[in-house]
């Protein structure tokens, strides 16, 4: 969603904050190819200066995240995450496969607060952890899971929260945001 200068290292590499090192390595290789000077997908967008800046940011992202100590520091200082690295918990979501498309790992059921909570509980991510990682107030996260319409912020902010929440539980952010906002509109129109 953000141009590269505003993206954090994980966003730059298109990986989740809990991605393992092999996933990071693959993502870095793919990114270097995608933003090389002659790359089909990007040659027409970036001028040489910008391309250099982007490649330098990617290299910096890889240098930092591939070093466990630097990564822990980056996570804490920049993202405010305690420790995302380490062996994945039992039943944890695997990192994104290079060829994965959006929607790939969606639940078949609807995007409701309770469906999202079940998904989160199934993969064993505590709400506190998401609050910490995303810096979204835990109250809002609870309101999302409870479909508590009155407590939820304006749609413009809610969308951002939903995308971050979705990422944290390994779902496609846009599908979840779209689905949930639609769900909310239907709830609201039903009450009127």
């Amino acid at each position: 969603m953000k141009p590269f200068r505003e993206q954090n290292y994980y966003e730059l590499l298109d990986v989740r904050p809990n991605a393992e090192k092999e996933v990071l390595a693959k993502a870095y290789e793919a990114a270097k190819r995608a933003f090389a000077g002659d790359a089909l997908a990007s040659y027409s967008l970036f001028d040489p200066g910008e391309r250099q800046a982007l490649l330098a940011r990617l290299a910096e992202a890889w240098r930092t995240l591939s070093d466990p100590a630097l990564r822990v520091r980056y996570d804490e200082d920049v993202l405010g995450i305690r420790s995302s690295v380490g062996p994945p918990a039992e039943g944890a979501v695997p990192g994104p496969r290079p060829m994965a498309f959006s929607y790939a790992d969606l639940p078949a059921t609807g995007v409701t607060g309770s469906a999202l909570r079940s998904r989160r509980e199934a993969i064993g991510v505590p709400l506190q952890e998401i609050a910490l990682n995303t810096r979204i107030s835990i109250a809002y996260l609870q309101f999302i899971e409870e479909d508590h319409e009155k407590g939820l912020p304006h749609e413009a902010y809610l969308r951002g929260y939903l995308t971050q929440y979705a990422r944290a539980i390994g779902l496609d952010p846009h599908t979840v945001a779209d689905g949930y906002l639609r769900h909310l509109r239907i709830l609201r129109s039903g009450k009127r």
């Binding site: 993206q7 990114a31 995608a34 609807g110 599908t175």
Partner: protein, 318 residues
């Protein structure tokens, strides 16, 4: 989009537009494949040939040349769109053919176009598939923006990719311009549309930053518009793993450069079956349902439906 059905009950209606800038990237082929795929699932579908310059969707659907076309409607010879609906060999799939006297209506007046878009939105059906023409003319952009899902086809060639980027940017600016009211803001968007503008605005995100600096409230509204704008991408005529990965790099490029989130729906392999069937005026997905290309369009449809499944489930429950 929610609409009222025949008996006044709430029905889920989706408009999907297929565009992509460059000619010959498979817009018509994909539109026909999606429409047929939906019809085979028993959905009520209307496929509309919105390529006002060069209509050929009926051929891709294996349907007979139509008795009435869009031009009859646009020129007012027929009052409603339902009068120009044609049948296909699929019971739940109907067709609105494009114009043939294209010189007359390739560029309909704005009011004519808006009347057309309104009537499209009012059609009583579950799915509407719009096959757009090549290019980034306002015609294509307006249909694209009127859809619930805007799908772009790209083939692994420089001109096609450049055209898709241009399309995304133009569509976004057009949507942006509609979302603001103040003449100064509209002027700013016009300025941004000129690639060599003196304000140095080169991307939608630059424009956003500029607007936010002037008026934070309008800026916030536009940020929302930007977050909601999410074109879908299909890579067609794929011949290698690299070609298939193009969708991922384009998605990443769009977010890194434009600040726009694109969704990659999947790819369709290059397959001789496609043109062989098209040459015989038969839909490839019917002639060769097990071909790799048909599996590709099937995946694209499944991904579109999975996104939608969610909303539909909610509709039933809510």
């Amino acid at each position: 989009m929610l609409g009222l059905g025949e008996q006044g009950r709430l029905v889920q209606k989706e408009i999907w537009a297929v565009g992509g800038g460059k000619g010959g990237t498979g817009k018509t082929y994909l539109s026909a494949s999606l429409a047929i795929g939906l019809a085979k699932l028993g959905k009520r579908v209307i496929a509309i040939d919105a390529d006002l310059g060069c209509a050929n969707l009926h051929t891709a659907l294996g349907a007979d040349p139509p008795a009435a076309t869009l031009s009859d409607f646009i020129k007012g010879r027929m009052k409603t769109l339902s009068e120009v609906l044609g049948e296909t060999s699929f019971p739940t799939l109907r067709l609105i053919s494009g114009a043939h006297d294209f010189l007359e209506i390739a560029n309909p007046k704005h009011t004519e176009k808006m009347r057309l878009i309104r009537q499209i939105q009012d059609l009583d059906v579950e799915y509407i598939i719009l096959d757009l023409g090549a290019g980034t003319a306002f015609n294509s952009l307006d249909f694209f923006l009127a859809a619930d899902r805007g799908i772009l086809t790209v083939i692994p060639e420089p001109t096609s990719i450049e055209n898709v980027y241009r399309f995304i940017k133009s569509a976004f600016y057009r949507r942006f311009k509609r979302a603001v009211r103040h003449p100064d803001m509209k002027a700013l968007v016009s300025c941004a549309m000129d690639q060599k503008n003196e304000r140095g605005i080169r991307t939608p995100h630059d424009l956003m930053a500029c607007v936010e600096a002037i008026d934070s409230e309008v800026g916030g509204r536009l940020r929302k518009t930007m977050a909601e704008f999410s074109p879908k991408l299909v890579v067609n005529q794929v011949r290698s793993q690299d070609d298939a990965a193009l969708g991922l790099s384009m998605r990443s490029s769009c977010s890194k450069y434009f600040g726009i989130h694109v969704e990659y729906l999947g790819f369709v392999e290059y397959d001789d079956c496609v043109w062989r069937a098209m040459k015989r005026k038969r839909p490839p997905v019917m002639e060769y349902p097990d071909a790799v290309s048909s599996r590709g369009t099937g995946t694209v449809l499944a991904n579109l439906l999975k996104g939608e499944q969610i909303a539909f489930d909610l509709c039933v429950r809510g």
